[in-house]
Amino acid sequence: MDALGDRTRRQVFELLRAGPRSVGDLAAGLPVSRPAVSQHLRVLEHAGLVTHRRNGTKHLYEIDTSGVGALRDWVEGFWSEALARFKAAAETKGEPR
């Protein structure tokens, strides 16, 4: 299983970086349905990246800060991708030698 291998799940994760959100809040910011967001949250929660708590009648989802090891691995992969793209951009846009 690859919790952050899906684009929408990455977007859900990115949105949660801004703070705790309900399923409805998340769905409002994404081009997918509430049930789809719930499904993505279940995957993220199962992976230990996201946790949830009850706030009145709402379930609020948030990034699980105990997940530092997994987060570090995720960031490592992110930088690999980003720097490969940076290299391509710098060599395309770089001044002619």
């Binding site: 690859d2 990455r10 990115e14 105990s66 997994a70 691995d73 690999s80 940076f86 770089g94």
Partner: protein
């Protein structure tokens, strides 16, 4: 007893076929040309990424609607050789990690060394984190690691 959790810094090196000055310029002033915004941004669509070029400056994205999404704060700014960012990788109320990027001349090319460190400062309880990490925390994300190297 103080927990001695240490999580190794993320270190990446890439060599690019351009000058140090140009590499620094593209990295900072033209980040929107390479940053994977389609998957790593706060807003759905990003039109610009801004590195305010001074210590204390902010790094932020601008959505196509003009909304600003804060990413990081500049801790050190030494163009075209080095920059250090304080990056709240989790949330604004959690300790930031640090990203240092060095641009080193390598003949006609530039070696870019990136270090993303400070993981041990995150979270509330180091011991609990360690347990989580050791009992299979990292099993899901393998595909994302090092695929560009």
């Amino acid at each position: 007893m103080k927990d001695t959790l240490m999580i190794e810094a993320v270190r990446k090196t890439v060599t690019v076929d351009c000058s140090v000055e140009e590499a620094f310029r593209v990295f900072t002033a033209d980040a929107v040309s390479w940053w994977p915004v389609e998957s790593h941004s706060i807003h759905e669509t990003v039109s610009e990424i801004v590195f305010e070029p001074e210590v204390g400056g902010e790094v932020y994205e601008l959505s196509t609607a003009g909304d600003r999404g804060y990413w990081a704060t500049v801790l050190e700014w030494d163009p075209p050789n080095r920059l250090v960012l304080a990056w709240n990788i989790l949330r604004a109320d959690v300790a930031p990690t640090e990203v240092e990027v060095r641009f080193l001349s390598d003949g006609k090319r530039t070696r870019v060394e990136l270090e993303h460190r400070g993981w041990e400062a995150l979270g509330d309880d180091g011991a609990a984190k360690r347990d989580d990490y050791d009992t299979g925390w990292d099993f899901v994300l393998g595909r994302f690691v090092a695929d560009a190297e």
